[in-house]
């Protein structure tokens, strides 16, 4: 009678304490340079070791310049120190690092899955909220704080109270031209930024079965923006086909054993959840955020909403968002002009995202005065895209073709919005200042971002044909 979440929890629960918390075994630990330094320092201060360094994987992704990734100085001296501290720590503790010189270097949540580090039925953690991405594989994957990073390094376990469970069932048929990003934004628009708080969301419905692994990753990635602890999708043939043959995926006999375990993970038909909701997708249109949190989302054909009935608190957030974004109620989304475009991030920087954007970019030109970046999620994504000639499509159209990294998603490197600049971004957060002080972020799908780059404003990409 258990959900997949229950099953994974039980498989990893070493003991349950009187206070209700459990000690969980952790299978996989991703580390990046921003949230790990203080954890490693903590170990050194107390003379502790990393318990299982082979189950850790380190990346440098947040601070790295995507113009020239070997340029250690490009993002400033403090970034350089942080990245080099990561190199020292990984070397000292024997952790495999995908750093400056590694051809496969990439964003943690892009790299992990593509090398088979991410596997179904596992518990995966990282000092990064978008760790929820890996739930696409039927793993329980969630972000942790730096104290917890230190705890996992030292013990390969984590102390957690079991979150509640929530089932989101997508009902209906996905309309033509609607991406996983649109569906995820619609979900957040519907349930709000705290709609999933305290819960692990399992996604079900025929939509999920028809989604590719990359689409599932986009959906699970954005689950955290609905406030949920994690998103999870039961593994199926699509999952196994994706994983088969990847570098760290089990091989031969081991693959067969793994499959037996994985096929048993599915939630039982009678499983009960603390919360269940249906999301109807028949009418979904391409989505754009207008405000400063991801629930402030509308369809491309709509106008900036008026707020009629609300609490004083809601009014305050609404007014502050509009003021920050420099928008007024009633303005049509298709009249909002942009001057920056960012296609990238752990949400939307995989090969399918780039193919999607390239279909729109092909044979067209970025509007004069608009700067448009395409930042692949990893070295592998970049090489594959180049093999397919996507880099040429983008550069011919006037997009900048960059090296892998988190880049303008949170502007810790040298890609930063200037005050007042407005960006169509495929990333995950439109928070104030996220992409740069005073910068204005609108979250969209890769196709919508590419179209915005060309039109210089938001357009309904469904009306565009491929050239």
């Amino acid at each position: 009678m258990n959900t997949i979440f229950d099953k994974i929890w039980e498989r990893h629960e070493i003991l349950k304490k009187e206070n209700g918390e459990s000690i969980l075994y952790v299978d996989r630990h991703l580390l990046h340079e921003v949230t790990s330094a203080q954890a490693f320092s903590g170990l050194l201060e107390k003379n502790r070791i990393v318990k299982f360094s082979n189950q850790c994987l380190g990346v440098i992704d947040h601070n790295l310049s995507t113009k020239n990734r070997k340029d250690r100085d490009a993002s400033g001296p403090i970034s350089k120190t942080q990245m080099e501290r990561m190199e020292e720590n990984c070397k000292h503790f024997g952790i495999r690092l995908y750093g400056f010189d590694d051809p496969d270097q990439g964003i943690a949540h892009v790299l992990g899955p593509e090398i088979g580090f991410t596997l179904p039925g596992t518990i995966i953690v990282c000092g990064d909220s978008h760790t929820s991405t890996h739930g696409a594989f039927g793993s329980l994957a969630f972000g942790i704080g730096t104290s917890e990073v230190e705890h996992v390094l030292a013990t390969q376990t984590l102390v957690q109270r079991k979150p509640k469970s929530m089932k989101v069932r997508f009902v209906g048929k996905r309309p033509e031209g609607i991406s996983a990003k649109d569906i995820a934004l619609y979900l957040i628009e519907t349930i709000g930024t705290s709609g999933g708080r305290g819960h692990v969301i399992e996604y079900t419905g025929s939509l999920i079965e028809t989604m590719t692994m990359e689409e599932r990753m986009t959906l699970c990635n954005l689950t955290v923006e609905a406030g949920a602890r994690a998103g999870i999708i039961a593994p199926d043939e699509v999952t196994y086909a994706y994983l088969r043959g990847r570098e760290l995926s089990p091989k031969a006999e081991q693959w067969k054993i793994a499959l037996r375990v994985w096929k048993d993970l599915k939630s039982s038909e009678e499983a009960t959840y603390d919360k269940e909701i249906n999301i109807y997708i028949d009418e979904i249109a391409p989505k754009v955020t207008w405000g400063t949190n991801p629930s402030q989302t509308i369809s491309i054909s709509e106008s900036i909403p008026e707020l009629s009935y609300c609490t004083p608190n809601e009014r305050l957030v609404y007014n502050a968002s509009l003021e920050y974004m420099g928008l007024v109620p009633g303005k049509k989304m298709t009249e909002v002009e942009i001057n920056k475009v960012f296609i990238g991030s752990c949400t939307n920087s995989r090969i399918e995202d780039l193919r999607d954007a390239a279909k729109i970019a092909k044979g067209r030109k970025v509007k004069s005065g608009v700067q448009a970046l395409v930042v692949p999620g990893s070295g592998r994504v970049k090489r594959l895209a180049e093999l397919e000639g996507l880099d040429k499509v983008f550069t011919d159209a006037g997009f900048e073709w960059r090296n892998p990294g988190c880049s303008m998603c949170l502007a810790m490197n040298d890609d930063i919005l200037k005050p007042g600049e407005r960006c169509a971004s495929t990333s995950n957060r439109n928070f104030e200042g996220r992409q740069g002080l005073g910068g204005r972020t609108h979250l969209v799908s890769p196709r919508m971002a590419a179209a915005a780059a060309i039109a210089g404003k938001f357009v309904d990409v469904r009306l565009w044909r491929e050239l």
Partner: protein
């Protein structure tokens, strides 16, 4: 971390829902590799105009403080949502905050807060409004929070709160979680050995 069971201090109100950790501690300060002085960067973009520490935003509550730094923050719904950055909690703690009273809190933020000795108290909207009334009437509002009685005291008034037991214990005891887990080292090792035997396909060589 030192445990505590009772705290008395000045309170301020930032009435806004969905205050995310990007607002608490902007990313440029996440590049630091120690845990020191993060209080200087708390609410940086709200405290200073154009990110210039010499241009105070006089409208922001932290810039209107006359005497000692406040240690109790009263706020809205979903405080601390967004990024998992514990740096946001280090900033609150270094500034002097011990207690945050709100309608609800981000999941990861809540875990980080307890590990740094910050008590998060969730209350219904009506009770938050009542507390806000105290501070409207009394500019120098001081409250006493007792984690054993689970009560907020102001003058002769009090409000009862509930708190997740494990988080309350963590703040009361101030124990190092790693030390505590290591007390179970034997049980953990036995578990891991048997787990990896059964799931040998998970072993990375």
């Amino acid at each position: 971390m030192k445990g505590w069971f009772e705290h008395t201090g000045g309170a301020i109100t930032i009435l806004r829902d969905d205050i995310d950790t990007d607002q608490l501690l902007p990313k440029q300060f996440m590049k630091l590799i120690d845990k020191k002085n993060f209080g200087n960067y708390l609410f940086y973009h709200w405290r200073y105009i154009d990110s210039n520490p010499e241009k105070l935003n006089v409208n922001f509550v932290l810039n209107r403080i006359q005497k000692e730094n406040p240690s109790i923050l009263v706020t809205g719904k979903n405080f601390g949502c967004g990024s998992s950055r514990e740096h946001a909690v280090w900033a609150l703690s270094d500034y002097g905050f011990k207690v945050i009273i709100g309608q609800s809190f981000g999941d990861i933020f809540a875990i980080n807060a307890a590990k740094n000795g910050i008590a998060l108290i969730s209350l219904e909207e009506s009770l938050i409004s009542e507390i806000m009334n105290w501070s409207t009437i009394d500019k120098d509002v001081r409250m006493r929070i007792n984690l054993i009685e689970k009560k907020i005291f102001y003058k002769n008034l009090s409000i009862v709160f509930d708190m997740e037991e494990s988080q309350r214990e963590r703040i009361l005891n101030g124990k190092d979680d790693i030390d505590e887990t290591m007390e179970e080292a034997h049980r953990i090792d036995v578990f891991i050995q048997s787990y990896l035997n059964e799931n040998s396909y998970l072993v990375i060589k």
